[in-house]
């Protein structure tokens, strides 16, 4: 085994911890130091809506038990953000003035919320919802009959709306979305319509196809002006218009950055010995597209690949694939890959009773699938898409029994049996 390598990981979230496991597979004795920007035990922002909804409390969200770091031989510096990186000297500067030397560095600092540009921005506070500190503010401000304006009907906005309805059924929520549908990147127009119906039946209002343009104040409440001329009055405004990689501390470090830190399939950045993974990384997708892809399975997979390469094993990431799982008001929504057919692709759909399913096929192959209100397996669907498994002959079966059929097709291909 080569000489000991000092590993430093910026972040202690999903990507970071997956990297720790992968480093330890081959390098039991290398020192590993993890940094997190927040004082709390490492947690995932995914839990925030569930905390708000009261489905779980803060005592059960630690990504790993405290003892984990000791038994894995890692040092966790919680509440110690990195503030600057000197890539050639292989030194990381920490808040408070400390420095850390490293042989291998992983940047896994996650993402930060995008704040929308609004006229008169200081009229009322605009909240975001990506860290525990945000949750505490919202929880204190929300009450039984709060009026809430949620900007953005993506993953975070919809989860926030659902959580508020769950906890405060009397709250009046308006979701503003510039696209003409909710969850635009996850579902096609018709599927999204069904989701909108579901939310509307719970009292959530939508203002689709228009943007918030200005903030104002009326009778102590926020007054939001929309691009269609309408307005929304609210006690609380929460911007959920997307996230962007958190890489402010990398200014001047010399790493190639576009939207996120540019990485190859091994999660290597442009600087030797430095890797990036998770929300902060801009890497290859399964179809070759380069981009940032901020969901947990991608963060975990990229973290695992980064860790393996930091440990000296040449491992490549299979490429991210758009995939979403939602469970709204007891209804399961699953989508993977493309939502619409383009060019010569075909789209098959089926609706029966409460359930609906859609497949997008390119020749024999599946390139996209979505199911609502019926059991489905997102991991199996992703695998079929990624591995280009021919499925056309079983399309009917996939639509009528998605869970079993996808699992059967996967397992059959994985085993190489007919």
């Amino acid at each position: 085994m080569a000489a000991t390598l000092r590993h430093v990981i910026i972040g202690a979230g999903t990507a970071a911890l997956a990297a720790v496991e992968a480093i330890r597979v081959g390098r039991p004795a290398d020192p590993i130091t993890l940094l997190s920007a927040e004082p709390e035990a490492p947690y995932s922002p995914t839990v925030l809506p569930h905390l708000l909804a009261g489905r779980i409390d803060e005592s059960r969200i630690a990504l790993r038990p405290a003892a984990f770091f000791g038994t894995r031989g890692c040092r966790l510096l919680a509440g110690t953000p990195a503030v600057a990186l000197c890539a050639d000297r292989r030194v990381l500067r920490l808040a408070g003035g400390g420095e850390l030397e490293f042989d291998r560095l992983l940047v896994a600092s996650g993402s930060e919320p995008i704040v929308p540009a609004l006229d008169n921005p200081d009229a009322v506070p605009v909240h975001t919802f990506t860290r525990l500190a945000d949750l505490r503010v919202l929880r204190a401000a929300l009450g039984g009959t709060s009026r809430v304006a949620v900007l953005g009907a993506g993953l975070i906005g919809m989860e926030l709306a659902e959580a508020i309805v769950h906890r405060w059924p009397g709250a009046r929520i308006t979701v503003v979305e510039q696209e003409r549908q909710v969850l635009p990147r996850a579902f096609c127009r018709e599927d999204a319509r069904a989701v909108e119906d579901l939310f509307e039946s719970q009292g959530v209002g939508f203002r689709l196809g228009c943007r918030a343009v200005a903030l104002g104040r009326r009778d102590g409440a926020a007054l939001l002006t929309l691009s269609d001329g309408g307005c929304v009055e609210a006690d609380l405004v929460v911007a959920c218009v997307g996230v962007k990689p958190r890489l402010g501390f990398l200014a001047g470090a010399g790493l190639a950055v576009r939207r996120g830190i540019v990485v190859d399939r091994r999660m290597a950045t442009s600087a030797a010995g430095i890797h990036a993974a998770g929300d902060v990384a801009e890497g290859p997708g399964a179809d070759g597209t380069i981009g940032c892809h901020a969901v947990l399975p991608t963060a975990a997979g990229q973290g695992r690949v980064a860790g393996a390469n930091m440990a000296g094993r040449a491992v490549e990431h299979e490429g991210w694939l758009p995939a979403n799982v939602f469970s709204f008001f007891g209804r399961l929504l699953v989508s993977a890959g493309a939502t619409e057919a383009v060019g010569r692709q075909t789209r098959l759909g089926q609706a029966s009773g409460a359930g609906r399913g859609r497949l997008v096929l390119d020749g024999d192959r599946l390139v996209g699938a979505s199911f609502a209100g019926m059991p489905a397996d997102p991991g199996a669907l992703c695998w079929l898409i990624r591995e280009r498994v021919p499925v056309r002959a079983q399309a009917e079966l996939l639509l009528s029994r998605p869970l079993e059929a996808a699992r059967w097709l996967c397992a059959r291909a994985q085993r190489g049996t007919a």
Binding site: M1, A300, G301, G379, L403
Partner: protein, 459 residues
Amino acid sequence: MALRPGPAGDRVTAVTAPPALRDTLCIEWGACPPGCRDCVEACALARGVARVTALDLAEVSFHGALTCGQCGEPACRDACPTGAIVREESGVVRLDQERCVGCGACAGACAWGGITLDAVTGRASKCDTCGGRPACALACTTGRLRWVETSALARRLGHPDPFTQGVSLCPGCAAELGFRTAFRAIGPDAVVFAAPGCACMLACGLGTAATTRLPSVMSLMTNVPSLMTGVARQLRRSGARTRAVAFVGDGTTADVGFQPLSGAAERGEPIVYICYDNEGYMNTGAQRSSTTLQGARTMTTPVGPGQAGKRQVPKDVAVLMAMHGAAYVATASVSHPEDFAAKLERALAAEDGLAYIHLYAPCHVGWQAPMDAAVEIARMAVLTRVFPLWEARRGRFRLTHPIAHPRPLGDFAGLMGRLRHLDEDGLRALGRAVEERYRRVEALCAALPWQEPGAAGGR
């Protein structure tokens, strides 16, 4: 040829624990009776939500079941945002329902159909093997879904791996696997004897840095048992319990060095002699030996107009050794490690004479098969009756793995290039020889049945 201590452990800076062998659910792929949901119902009854999926797809005439494979590096765990999924020491990947928020990331990360998000409960669920008594396996009456206890094997192979880091044999070598298995069962209180052949690279680290941690002796091919006799007697005289163990090939055993082996068995020397049989002289280019299978192509038994591989049937050295009335004789295969480990235990217990184990260890290079094929070939050799597994104590026999319904011989022959030239006639002829050998062992078991130690018949 002095005894040479193995290199001290200090050369190894840090040792990774070998991955824990664990008990596991074994589901025969697509072999379930149509419409059967016994496992699913039992699981649902025991655990609320079924964690095994029935793939009962009449539309495509497929009937099977699927559940979590308890990954070594579980993707579901890595994706879980609440730390609800943990891989335990035992190898079980457990989901704590109390922490699950139902986000479904685990199901998006798992490509094996192991974990399901249930919209009604709002939680994911996955198999955790019911603490070692899985309800599904107890309910399955067809034997297609079984609980296989590999932890028993892990206990049997409780000693550390015998090698320092790195090994100089071909990747995928069954002899290496056999060596590791043998000494994880035997333990460190042994002196290893080797002779020219592939395994001497393992035993004595010839030409490389990697070797065993055990003291080892490099012998000639012609005199392994003689050398062992001297060392074993001296060890005994000095009061040590250290055992003399040979790990040598079929060339040394069956051909070049058979005479001293016969002598040591007849004299009752308390040595343990393991022959790893790869059916030829493999580190010199795959020439035939007297144990090479009939019909096999080797460098010296070519296939052409005048000849189709080896003409003779293999010499059954294990039967010959049993006929010496040796204290203990067994056949074993790298594909059946539990059986092998149990036989090693009995070989070590037979301190009143020679113990001989004939270990089937296919050489994928010499047998012209892919790098990952050796264990599967060995398994097929057992399932097709090509290599019967049996044992004998003082000439009293029993089959340890009777094969009531042998697989067709083609399932074995098709796995390797050395038999590919056999046409139907050739396969039939080989099949007759295989049957005859199997029946001979069966007949020996019937005529001279096994006796437990202590029962009458000991010497």
